[in-house]
């Protein structure tokens, strides 16, 4: 079975780990300054007084003047989420994280080990810890598992048998489908409220009225595709931290600290001489918040000067003085050096640069982002069957 473990409002919960008192009062995750002023997840106390996630900041403050706004803490979120994933991996699950607070995994590999699906999922809940209020939905399809997790209570395991999947999805609200706000409004205008009502419509008509996104949502409303879950490959930690005795905001000091962190990171034996492809800098700020920036290098390198040039300017984006600076290697390149030729064959340099460019794109956007067009039936009269776009991971 495919299981989906869900921790609602993970970003708020992670930010509140250092301020547990706020979890008991009306509080909400503050909007990102660079985005629309809409509230993030809210605490149970805020919810009872009428404050909802996604509400406009002004409206929320008018509804509850004592509402506490919790600053975003991206470094804590990343760290806590990684810990949750590692605990699940330690229990034997090959996890496929979807986003912060949502992770999908197959139970097949560990069912015999723990004595059944239910027992295996109980172990998963235990591994995560009751403090996060996790809940699990399990089904034979990914979307049904996610829908089951969305309606489960904290600590509950909701198993949906294959023959009951359709009847389980039918009465659920449309808001579980990944659609834009405008599309929901459009569907509501058409009198649709439940997933089953959308699933009953003819696919062609849905595609014509709502476009590609609507057609995808229609497919999900009918259960979605059956696909295997591919667990991520467990990552090893390669990071260096520098803790300052007092808050530092001076750019010169910060650049020196970065240089020191780079030298320490480069000296780590786990690197085995491989250059860095992607690095992340994070900082714990003096006011209790955090800051994080990831940098993908155009050419994988282990040269201090080039790394300083790439990372240094990011320090100017720090919003406040910091108490702790952390440098983390997110991804390493495979090669350790380049073999130069006395006389290079024509086009070799261009091809090499192209390969390097593609590796950079993959490192920054993820596996499957670089594709190749493969002609399969160029003679076909049906245009979409002439060629396929195939992910090219090397």
């Amino acid at each position: 079975m495919i299981a989906c473990l869900l921790i609602p409002g993970f970003e708020l919960r992670a930010a509140l780990r250092s301020r547990p008192r706020l979890a008991l009062v009306p509080a909400a995750l503050a909007p990102d300054p660079s985005e629309e002023p809409l509230l993030g997840p809210v605490t149970a106390a805020a919810s009872t007084v009428g404050v909802k996630p996604g509400m406009r900041l002004g409206e929320a403050l008018a509804t509850c003047p004592t509402l506490a706004l919790v600053d975003r803490d991206p470094a804590a979120v990343e760290q806590e989420w990684e810990e949750v994933l590692r605990r699940l991996e330690d229990t034997g699950f090959a996890v496929d994280p979807v986003e912060h607070g949502v992770v999908v995994f197959e139970t097949r590999g560990v069912e015999r080990l723990y004595g059944g699906v239910q027992q295996a999922l109980e172990r998963a809940l235990e591994a995560v810890g009751s403090g996060w209020d996790p809940r699990i939905g399990a089904a034979t399809r990914r979307f049904t598992a996610l829908a089951a997790a969305s309606v489960a209570r904290p600590g509950q395991i909701l198993l949906v048998a294959e023959k009951e999947e359709e009847s389980f999805l039918d009465p659920l609200p449309l808001s579980l489908l990944p659609l834009t706000r405008e599309r929901y409004a459009e569907l509501e205008g058409l009198g649709l409220r439940k997933i089953g009502e959308l699933a009953d419509l003819p696919g062609g008509a849905v595609a014509e009225r709502l476009g590609t996104d609507g057609h995808k949502a229609w497919g999900l409303a009918r259960g979605g595709r059956k696909a295997k879950v591919r667990g991520r490959k467990a990552a090893a930690e390669l990071a260096e931290v520098l803790v300052f005795p007092e808050a530092v905001g001076n750019e010169l000091t910060l650049r020196r600290a970065l240089g020191s962190l780079l030298e320490r990171l480069l000296a780590r034996p786990e690197r085995a001489g491989r250059p860095f492809r992607k690095l992340a800098m994070s900082a714990r700020l003096v006011d209790g918040g955090s800051w994080r920036r990831a940098v993908t290098l155009r050419d994988a390198t282990a040269e201090v000067a080039r790394l300083r040039t790439a990372l240094g300017p990011k320090l100017q984006e720090l919003p406040a003085p910091l108490l702790e600076l952390r440098l983390e290697a997110v991804e390493l390149a495979e090669h350790t050096g380049q073999q130069l030729a006395l006389v290079e064959p024509g086009g070799e340099e261009t091809a090499g640069r192209l390969r390097e460019g593609l590796r950079q794109v993959r490192a920054s956007t993820g596996s499957g982002s670089v594709c190749a067009v493969v002609e399969v039936a160029p003679w076909s009269r049906i245009p979409e069957t002439r060629a396929l776009v195939v992910p090219r991971d090397e």
């Binding site: 994933l85 496929d96 591919r230 390669l238 997110v330 390493l332 195939v390």
Partner: protein
Amino acid sequence: MVADSGDASTRRTARRVAGRLNAPLPALVETGFGGAPRVVNRQLVALVREEWRVVDRWWTEQPVDRRYFEVVLESGQNVCVYRDREEGCWFTQNA
């Protein structure tokens, strides 16, 4: 966290399956005389350049029966649309 190239913990939204190139997209089409498109995606059709039919795979469970039109819109844009006679809907596609 560190991962070798070809694997990264941050690759959460990766698309790993092969996709179709030139997949048809749903289109809003109003028809005129003889079923030819008059308005495509809220733009008036200035000229129908060509018309042809594709009937294929009739021996399978997914038969193809399409009536293609290559049209020029008022904006000067060249568009290829077809009516899927199986589904009864209009689509745009580069034919």
